[in-house]
């Protein structure tokens, strides 16, 4: 018999509705899987098994009544530990919030609870979502289910590893510069960053507020469409969320990309990308051509400034967002002094890890008198130019295609230079700066390790990238592969 944890969400949904399986059985199968492989993978900061079984029983009642059903009713899901869950510890991967229990649910969580998900746990991440490997988690690094010596990517590495290892049927992460797409790429998943404003950020612990978006991880485009649908849409509690109506993402999956105009950005073939990645991505592009897409090169001339502009803008916003952690209102607090400034400085010295401190320093420097125009304003102008590059490209193309990450999963400890780690997001950062949507999908393998293909779409055209992803899946079997030695 097929193990229940290997089912897709859309398969499980049908079996649940036909009452061939129960949510309790499905949830138990995932909790058993967690017991078996989590000690090796370490994807979770918290496994919420009791809550999961309670939600599963509730879902089964709902399924029995046949009323008010959602495609995610009774489906086991994992949540990145940067999304606030009411009365459930939400750490953001930081000592600072090690014991923080949010008084409210993020809007995304409210919607998922209304849909009737089963939450199996909160997932590990780089501290405050700053990193590309989960090695900056204050607690422990997560391991890649495809090779336990390697990183799952980051910052949403725990969410990616949980789904890749069959510990959840889908999960949610956040993407500020690639934190969904890069781990998706390294773990052979569909990882989607929605258009800025498509999903509410209310209750998402802030990193770079003009860049952050919550999005799903799934083992297929069809599942990703369901997971995105559940959270997309306007929210009055996030003034940057868009009133634009959402599309029906599942019905966009026609399996047909004949005549679809796909651009290949010339500037994305850069030195430093592993030859194996280039080879797999070129083959995947050739495959899209054979499927009937019209493939042509396109130029995005300001691409080379992307990483530099991002590493001014994101740390600048982070330095402002993280100013709230002062040891007064919530979170870690240094109590061993009666002197106010000393207490604050030591709270932040002991509560934050090295990467967070580095970004606060970089952001504060870029915003400080004398450097503001040279760094911050200039970076914002370059951001405008990068957005214009995409606007022009999307006049001629429906989708752009590139590698998702310059490397396959690298070994834990392999990258120690901060800037080399920053370069892991070289292909994903421009979409955040421009606010467009993007998805990483299983594009092939190199020596047993997954290679991700990135599909970029215009604002609010998640339908186009999901349609392309689904069509590609239908004529390949990369997304059906499971890690062997787990």
């Amino acid at each position: 018999m097929t193990e229940l944890y290997t089912l897709s969400i859309h398969e499980a949904k049908e079996l649940l509705r036909q009452r061939k399986i129960s949510s309790v059985e499905l949830t138990q199968a995932h909790l058993d899987r967690i017991r078996a492989v989590e000690p090796k993978v370490k994807a979770f900061t918290l496994v919420t098994d009791e809550l999961a079984m309670k939600q599963a029983r509730e879902a089964d009642q709902r399924l029995a009544s046949g009323e008010n059903l959602h495609p995610l009713t009774g489906i086991p899901i994992a949540i990145k530990d940067v999304i606030c869950t009411k009365n459930i510890t939400t750490t953001a991967g930081s000592r600072m919030l090690e014991n923080f229990k949010p008084p409210y649910d993020a809007t995304v969580m409210e919607r998922l609870h209304t849909a009737g998900i089963v939450m199996v746990g909160k997932t590990n991440m780089d501290e405050f979502a700053m990193g590309s490997s989960t090695e900056h988690s204050a607690f422990f690094p997560t391991r890649n289910p495809w090779d336990l010596e390697r990183t799952p990517g980051g910052s949403s590495g725990g969410s990616a590893a949980a789904v890749a290892a069959g510990m959840a049927m889908g999960s949610y992460g956040s993407d500020t510069g690639g934190s969904i797409r890069q781990p998706g790429s390294l773990c052979n998943l569909v990882g989607l960053k929605p258009t800025y404003g498509r999903v509410s950020r209310f209750g998402l612990i802030a990193f770079g507020s003009s860049l952050d978006q919550i999005g799903p991880f799934a083992r297929s485009a069809r599942d990703a469409a369901i997971l995105l649908q559940a959270i997309a849409g306007h929210d009055s509690r996030d003034a940057t969320s868009s009133p634009q109506p959402t599309q029906d993402y599942s019905s966009a999956l026609t399996g047909n990309i004949k005549g679809l105009r796909i651009g290949v950005p010339e500037e994305y073939w850069v030195e430093g990308t592993q030859p194996a990645v280039v080879k797999v991505v070129r083959q995947a592009i050739e495959h899209l051509r054979k499927m009937g897409a019209e493939i042509s090169p396109v130029s995005l001339p300001h691409t080379k400034y992307g990483v530099a502009a991002y590493y001014i803008i994101a740390p600048a916003e982070a330095s402002a967002n993280l100013a709230r952690y002062d040891g007064v209102k919530y979170g870690y607090s240094y109590r061993d002094t009666s002197e106010m400034w000393e207490a604050m400085e030591k709270t932040r010295a002991f509560g934050f890890g090295a990467e967070v401190k580095r970004r606060i320093m970089l952001g504060t420097y870029a915003l400080s008198a004398g450097y503001y125009d040279a760094y911050y304003i200039r970076a914002q102008k370059i951001r405008a130019l990068i957005a214009q590059d995409f606007e022009k490209a999307f006049e001629r193309f429906d989708v752009l295609v590139s590698p998702a990450s310059p490397k396959v999963a690298f070994k834990l400890g392999e990258i120690s230079d901060p800037y080399e780690m920053y370069l892991q997001d070289i292909f994903t950062i421009p979409a955040n700066l421009a606010g467009i949507c993007g998805v990483s999908i299983p594009g092939g393998f190199s020596e047993g390790l997954p290679v991700g293909l990135q599909l970029l779409g215009n604002i609010f055209r998640e339908d186009s990238i999901l349609r392309t992803a689904d069509a590609f899946e239908q004529s390949t079997d990369y997304h059906k592969q499971w890690p062997g030695n787990l």
Binding site: K101, I312, R348, A349, K357, M361, A384, P418
Partner: protein, 96 residues
Amino acid sequence: MIDRETVQNVARLARLGLSEEEIEIFKNQLSSILGHIKILQEADVSGISPTAHVSRLTNITREDIPQPSYPPEVLLANAPDQEDDYLKVNAVLEEE
């Protein structure tokens, strides 16, 4: 490119306590990172307006309708220290 004094000044602005060792590490790392970021100076940005956000929205307003808020005990549940319904902090102004 970045000296110790700059590191200490920026840390003070950010209210971030740094050890002697961290000051040395950040001096080198920030210099290296800013060395890479220097590429921004090459771009031609004449006539370009800075983009602060990409939401494509302006002036979002809503009706000013009073809503019930959270009870104090809920909001104070995560506070490191409290007294009655207040956050308790170190003295801000010391007596002379």
